[in-house]
């Protein structure tokens, strides 16, 4: 996902082929044009390039020469746009003509944590307009962190008659109205997956909109849709979807309803269990369904999730499938170690496990003992507060490292940690590719030694030679960045918060990590001189995010001046009514082939009164983000983009 999506354009759409030779053959046809050697080559290439699927390989092939560029462009069928603003839809549709599958990512990840205004951008509409003309044979559409409206879904349904897969991750802007249109109009839809998205409840019975005959549905994921579902209709839909393998229900589906669905679809491989709780009123003495045997009948089940309002005593129903599970997501289930143990000790084949920290260190010890094949672990906090006595700590981390030697990916929220445990994990789990540790108290040191967490993270980058993604936390000095710069040679994604002492920290990173693609930093004391240290590298990155750091507008301007191919977006508060401050609150920069965007928000509203220093703010309509030049404004929250200097 973090791979380069497109290298700079070589400057062409198709140019007329000037390589053919006119051959006159005897007294015959004088207009026959035999294909020249280049044309032959191109034909051959096209046939060969069809077999190249990796986009990195294709990007490389397209750079060989113009002929290869053209051939590659004509034969690429899958497109990945890692930043929707890095290139314009028009440029994309001009170059690639035969796209069947497209993935587009929009907002930067920190927008998930409310660090961007809601109307910041990443609209799907402009992409849709271009695709509706050029990619009518589109089969797969994947969007992440994009704003998608109901109208967009309607247009998509209408424009892509053979759309087979629609996957929306962390998207927003649409509602059940849009879903109804998709259900009704996308007759060939096999995969409809809505994940972690905010979906309005328009009080539309969208499930009823699927066609009445047998469907080709293979995957239906709607656990994030916070709206009641017409259960009888859903049951009939499942009954007439013989290919259905993945079904993830929302919390409006009770366990009794789940039972009915399961007995209709024992072929399921992936099941999201909904609330896993009976409705409010359950008749006493009435036998509840035999949930256990419903699970026993699902012999192919390998992935289980949901449990959104679980009553723990129902958990034993899943015992029959535990031995086959490769993925178990209990991250909405507030259960204790005691409740987890009887389940987890049967999950010998588990590779992916997500849980809440309610399972405590003891629960993690049970995981460690049972799940020898574990590849991915995520532990989320029940209480996402800084000052809490969390139930998981270095004890759990250490236990996991000792038992789960094949671990590749970990996300661990905790309130206390030690360097020793992190160092141990770095040695016990050499296959780690993703290490994300979130010690929730800001600037929290090793709680045993009182030292910064530098050594722990240093050991991770040093010992985990395959590491590509890292998130650091706790009390950290410049030293940890020195380690990362020194050893993090494969690092592509790095998240930093409340860390470092001086500009050196960021410098170490920018100078040391040649593969760095995505760097997101908040609340760390890095300023302009550190920013300049990355000038040699910014064109190779997906983006750089700096919020609540020490960069200034001057610094940002200078970066934009030196790198005309970057778009530098700045969000800043003024500190005085009538002055301009040099302060920058958020810097978001990224390379772009098409310059600053035109759809930046008009920031009309601001939060309630803030007093900064002595000034009291009034409101005024903010300036659009993509101003052509920095314009000082006398007051107000305004955002500006520094336009790259005119192309040389």
């Amino acid at each position: 996902m973090s791979e380069d999506e497109e290298l700079p354009d070589l400057g062409g759409g198709a140019t007329p082929n000037s390589n053919s030779t006119v051959v006159s053959i005897g007294g015959g046809d004088q207009n026959y044009v035999s294909p020249g050697p280049d044309q032959v080559l191109e034909n051959v290439l096209e046939n060969v390039l069809c077999f190249l699927t990796s986009r990195r390989d294709r990007n490389a092939a397209s750079l060989v020469c113009k002929s290869w560029y053209r051939a590659e462009a004509l034969t690429r069928s899958e497109l990945f746009i890692g930043n929707c603003y890095s290139v314009s839809p028009r440029r994309v549709t001009n170059r690639f003509r035969l796209i069947k599958a497209i993935a587009i990512k929009g907002k930067p990840r920190f927008s998930d944590f409310s660090l961007l205004p809601p109307d910041w951008g990443a609209h799907f509409a402009p992409w849709l307009r271009a695709m509706a003309i050029s990619y009518r044979a589109l089969e797969k559409l994947y969007l992440k962190r994009m704003c998608v409206r109901d109208e967009d879904l309607a247009i998509a349904a209408h424009s892509f008659p053979i759309l087979k897969e629609l996957v929306l991750v962390c998207c927003e802007g649409f509602g059940t109205d849009g879903l109804a249109i998709v259900a009704r109009e996308c007759r060939q839809i096999r995969v409809l997956e809505l994940m972690d998205s905010v979906i309005r409840d328009n009080e539309v019975d969208w499930i009823s909109c699927f066609p009445e005959d047998v469907t080709c549905l293979e995957s239906l994921i709607f656990d994030c849709v916070e709206a009641p579902i017409n259960f009888e209709v859903l049951e009939r839909l499942v009954a007439r979807s013989p290919s259905l393998k993945k079904l993830m229900l929302n919390s409006y589906i009770s366990i009794t309803q789940l039972y009915r669905l399961m007995i209709r679809a024992p072929q399921l491989t992936h099941l999201g269990t909904g609330s896993f709780s009976p409705l409010e009123i359950v008749a006493q003495g009435e036998h509840e369904p035999d949930y256990f045997s419903a699970f026993a009948a699902c012999k192919s089940l390998i992935c289980l999730s949901g449990f959104k309002e679980i009553i723990p005593e129902y958990l034993s129903a899943i015992y029959p499938v535990c031995g086959n599970l490769t993925s178990l997501n209990l991250s909405y289930a507030n259960i204790s170690a005691e409740q987890l143990k009887p389940v987890i000790r049967q999950c010998h084949k588990l590779q992916t496990f997500w849980a809440l920290d309610s399972v405590s260190d003891e629960g993690l010890q049970a995981v460690s003992a049972a799940c020898k094949d574990l590849r991915e672990l995520r532990v989320f906090p029940v209480e996402a507060l800084e000052d809490a006595e969390g139930p998981v700590s270095e004890v759990g981390l250490l236990a996991i490292s000792e038992g789960c030697r094949k671990l590749q990916s970990i996300l661990y929220f905790c309130h206390r940690m030690t360097n020793a445990a992190v160092v141990a994990m770095s040695k016990n789990c050499p296959d780690l590719v993703v290490f994300r540790l979130c010690i929730m108290g800001r600037h929290m040191p090793d709680h045993v030694t009182g030292e910064p967490m530098d050594e722990g993270f240093g050991a991770i980058v040093k010992n985990c030679k395959k590491l590509t993604r890292l998130a650091v936390s706790g009390l950290l000095t410049d030293r940890v960045f020195n380690y990362i710069g020194q050893y993090g040679k494969l690092l592509r994604t790095l998240s930093v918060a409340f860390a470092g002492n001086t500009d050196l920290g960021l410098k170490y990173l920018l100078e040391g990590c040649p593969k760095l693609q995505k760097l997101e930093i908040r609340d760390s004391p890095f300023g302009d001189s550190a920013l300049f240290a990355g000038l040699h590298h910014y064109y190779n990155m997906r983006f750089l995010w700096l919020s609540a750091c020490k960069v200034t507008r001057q610094g940002c301007k200078e970066v934009a001046r030196q790198l005309p191919g970057l778009v530098v977006e700045v969000i800043a508060w003024n500190e005085e009514e009538n002055g301009t401050s040099e302060d920058v609150d958020t810097l978001y920069l990224y390379r772009s082939l098409d310059g600053p965007r035109a759809d930046a928000p008009r920031l009309m509203v601001r939060p309630s009164l803030i007093m900064l220093g002595k000034a009291l703010f009034n409101y005024r309509a903010g300036f659009p983000l993509a101003a052509l030049k920095i314009s000082p404004s006398s007051c107000g929250f305004h955002a500006l983009a520094v336009e790259p200097s005119p192309a040389a």
Partner: protein
């Protein structure tokens, strides 16, 4: 429209830059987030230094997506059965803060019952026939205990399910065993 003409008071200015439906006052793009942080200068200066006061809230930290904060309501559902009642109910122990609170909720659920606190015993009484019910629960070890004997938090921790038992059956359940129903005095509320 000049800046001054837009008043700083009123609901208009209370709109926040947060996700739709996000009820918390979340401000993006502001150095320190909440306006409750009175001494912003202090926080700004302490960026690189020692811990800021632990009570300050910071936008977007810890980095947990809002739907995880909202959905995981820290809930602890247990089944509640009442002897003689046709239906089970479920109750979320986490949303109550005390035994009294819990009893009130149970009284609301099983509407024929009213709370009767006599001496230190907690009971629910069926106003129709004077039948007394004593709340009991099954703990982690599988034992049935009287509700109210242990500190509240400990109870929430260990309670697996609850049963409103008729007083007559609850004898012997612990030190606070109720008096037999034939002694009418204890039923006066």
């Amino acid at each position: 429209m000049s800046p001054e003409s837009e008043t700083s008071g009123g609901l208009k200015t209370e709109l926040t830059l947060g996700l739709p439906g996000d009820l918390q006052v979340q401000k993006s793009g502001i150095k320190r987030g909440f306006s409750e942080v009175v001494d912003l200068k202090l926080v700004n200066d302490s960026k690189a230094e020692s811990q800021p006061p632990s009570t300050t809230q910071v936008v977007g930290w810890p980095p947990v997506r809002s739907y995880r904060k909202n959905l995981v309501k820290n809930c602890k559902y247990v089944k509640v059965a009442a002897d003689g009642a046709p239906y089970l109910r479920k109750i979320d122990l986490e949303i109550h803060s005390s035994y009294q609170d819990l009893l009130t909720a149970m009284g609301d659920m099983f509407t024929c019952l009213t709370i009767c606190n006599v001496l230190n015993e907690r009971k629910l009484v069926d106003s129709a026939n004077g039948e007394e019910y004593v709340p009991t629960y099954e703990d982690k070890d599988g034992d049935w205990m009287l509700v109210g004997d242990v500190p509240w938090k400990m109870f929430v921790e260990s309670c697996k399910r609850m049963r409103l038992m008729k007083s007559s059956e609850a004898i012997g359940l612990g030190a606070a065993a109720p008096s037999t129903p034939s002694k009418g005095s204890s039923t006066s509320c």
